[in-house]
């Protein structure tokens, strides 16, 4: 199959998945036995007669279910996610501000996971069954076993409380917000040339990103390790060794590049799991991203906001997977067949 067709087919599948996501979210409110008004408004909101009537009108709850469904779909496809009960602003407008904050955190966490996991996995494989291997495996299994929020709390207590490093929020109180260009403070502050804001933002993003990275680095380093072990058994590695190349050249020039191909497929999943993990880390660090938006919406019984955040996360995640699949098809032609 040509690469073009592969991409086309994969993109079509993506359309099906996004459509499925929207459908699933809609029917979840219908299939799970609950009062749709209670879901939409919360128990307190149901006391307000005017609000109830308005909600029935907005969501067309008095119409047949298929009509509600098409109305819901057409609204979402036009980018109309409804208004948040909590912030009173359109959900999409809220999320547009929150989205870069979460992506910034996820990318930074991703980098930290990689910086820990790739060397750990390689050393583990090269020095198999040595003390390095055992330590790195213990670290990875402990990392995976802890909830993100717990790592976040530990980091906050140790580094912020005892050493005064970082802290809650995206910037220290008193630091001016950079203008909204990309919405990622690390980038925006550099774009306007404010190095002081950049450093402050950097110190604030480090701890939550580590909390996200620790749990993911465990999984990744195991994957790198097993992939590296597999590659080291290949014939071309034996050939390289027989040619008399130094071990370092064999490992870094010949083995490493091939060993990192397999973990690439996993990157999409990793990024998605960071979006999921961000829900907890943002709660602990009061990080104003999509995850915290979702949690605040839960406490405020703000269904439009919950729905919008969950749908947007699913769309971002499945798009990331789409990109990874296409990237992988470029790197490794075998998947196209």
């Amino acid at each position: 199959m040509k690469l073009r067709y592969y991409i086309l087919r994969r993109a079509l599948l993506q359309v099906v998945v996004v459509f499925g996501v929207l459908t699933l979210v809609f029917f979840a409110t219908k299939i799970i036995p609950s009062n749709p008004l209670a879901v939409l408004l919360g128990i307190e909101g149901m006391q307000d007669k005017a609000l109830v009537e308005q909600t029935i009108k907005i969501w067309k709850l008095d119409r047949p279910i298929w009509e509600q469904y098409f109305y819901y779909l057409s609204n979402l496809l036009r980018g109309e996610f409804g208004r948040s009960i909590l912030t009173r602003a359109p959900v999409l407008q809220d999320l547009r501000v929150r989205f870069p904050a979460t992506v910034e955190l996820a990318i930074f966490g991703f980098l930290i996971a990689m910086v820990i996991a790739i060397p750990a996995g390689i050393l583990s494989a090269v020095y198999r069954d040595s003390i390095i291997d055992h330590l790195s495996r213990i670290f990875s299994i402990v990392g995976v076993s802890g909830p993100e929020w717990w790592w976040g709390i530990i980091l906050l207590v140790v580094f912020y409380f005892f050493f005064g490093f970082g802290g809650s929020g995206r910037l220290s109180p008193g630091t001016p917000y950079p203008p909204f260009i990309t919405g990622m403070y690390l980038i925006d502050s550099l774009l306007i040339g404010r190095f002081d804001i950049f450093l402050d933002a950097l110190s604030h993003i480090t701890l939550p990103a580590i909390a996200l990275g620790i749990t993911r680095s465990g999984l990744t380093s195991r994957l790198v390790r097993s992939s590296m072990l597999e590659v080291l058994r290949e014939d071309y590695i034996k050939t390289a060794r027989m040619k008399g190349l130094r071990e370092r050249v064999v490992i870094y020039r010949h083995a490493l590049r091939n060993a990192l191909i397999a973990p690439v497929t996993y990157m999409g999943f990793l990024f998605g799991s960071m979006l999921g993990g961000a829900i907890f880390v943002e709660t602990v660090f009061n990080w104003q991203g999509m995850g915290l938006y979702l949690v605040n919406a839960i406490f405020a019984s703000d269904y439009p906001a919950i729905q919008g955040a969950v749908i947007l996360m699913a769309i971002i995640y499945s798009t990331a997977n789409l990109l990874v699949d296409i990237l992988y098809a470029f790197i490794d032609p075998r998947v196209r067949y």
Binding site: L13, V16, V17, G20, V21, L24, V25, A28, T29, I32, P33, S34, A38, V39, I141, V142, V144, S145, G146, P147, E148, W149, W150, I153, I154, L156, V157, F161, G272, S273, M274, L275, G276, G277, I279, F280, T283, V284, L294, V295, I298, F299, Y303, I306, Q307, A309, V310, M313, A314, I316, Y317, S318, N321
Partner: protein, 306 residues
């Protein structure tokens, strides 16, 4: 090959080999003992907990650990140790229920998908794609919220989200097995599809199901505690490890142990499941098995001779 069952022996040779490989590892034994201890403490909570986990004591707010309160008290003066012991009931047993539900949903779906293939498989796989395109627990949060906050909705939500990987595992095994002779033979003697799936194919999936379930227990414990932590799981005043940490989070700089201790218990429990699951996966590694099977056969022959 199907496991051979010897007469007069309680367990098949295959099972005994697996058990013997499992028990050779000290870490596995320690993990099993640890889990048994946690189960006993959770079941016997009323006997073991020093105090009532719900009694509010305004005279003893946020106390540090003392002899009287080994883990201190929370913001309402409740004994944290007692709350953690009672909290184990939800945090440890509900995930077992969730994984049970995951097996109940995932296994039949995987059997059907793998056995029939074609369009049925295509549709089921697209559904799993859709469910899996929600990152982390976000879909579970949505479902639990819709069903009304509480342990039961959280458990159901986690099961409704978690069956996909189990279905894929079973589907994979079934697809590899269904072309084999014994399935063809079963068809020839007129066994129904349902009986072929459950009597012939399912036994081949037992071990993969067990490994997946073991690994899943750990992630479900973390997910359930996470749902409680952000408010869609257990509701106050009921204790579970997630909500104890959530309540303690407001005081992390004054009383850090409130939030840290439940987390340590989660890590320890999840670690134990992961260790057992890991070892189980190793025990099913064909290479290691063959080695041990040889040891077994030699031993049995010796017994016969004597």
């Amino acid at each position: 090959m199907k496991p051979t069952i010897r007469k007069g022996k309680f367990l098949s040779t295959e099972t005994r080999i697996t058990i013997s490989i499992m028990l050779r590892s000290k870490i596995t034994i320690a993990s099993i003992l640890l889990l048994i201890t946690i189960y006993i403490v959770a079941i016997a909570a009323p006997l073991i907990a020093p105090r009532d986990p719900y009694t509010i004591n305004t005279g003893a707010l946020l106390l540090p650990p003392t002899k009287e309160y080994p883990l201190g008290t929370d913001n309402l003066g409740r004994d944290v140790l007692s709350r953690i012991i009672y909290g184990a009931r939800v945090s440890v047993f509900v995930p077992i229920l969730v994984v049970g539900l995951i097996v109940l949903i995932g296994v039949p779906v995987g059997l059907i998908s793998g056995y029939y293939g074609g369009k049925v498989d295509e549709v089921i796989m697209r559904i799993t794609d859709i469910v899996m395109s929600f990152p982390g627990v976000s879909l579970a949060i949505l479902l639990a919220y819709i069903a009304g906050r509480g342990v039961l909705s959280a458990a159901l939500a986690l099961a409704l989200v978690g069956w996909t990987s189990m279905a894929r595992v079973v589907r994979g095994v079934v697809m590899a097995e269904k072309e084999k002779d014994y399935v063809a033979a079963a068809k020839v003697i007129g066994k129904s599809d349902l009986r072929i799936m459950f009597e012939e194919l399912l036994p081949n999936c037992y071990y993969p199901i067990l490994v997946d379930a073991m690994m899943r227990l750990g992630t479900v414990i973390i997910a359930l505690a996470g749902l409680s932590f952000i408010g869609v799981g257990v509701q106050p005043p009921e204790p579970d490890w997630g909500i104890i940490a959530a309540e303690g989070r407001k005081y992390i700089f004054e009383q850090p142990w409130l939030a840290i201790f439940p987390g340590i218990l989660i890590i320890v429990t999840v670690l134990a499941y992961n260790m057992i699951g890991d070892r189980l996966r190793d025990a099913l590694d064909p290479k290691l098995r063959r080695e041990l099977a040889g040891v077994y056969r030699a031993k049995e022959e010796k017994e016969k001779e004597s």
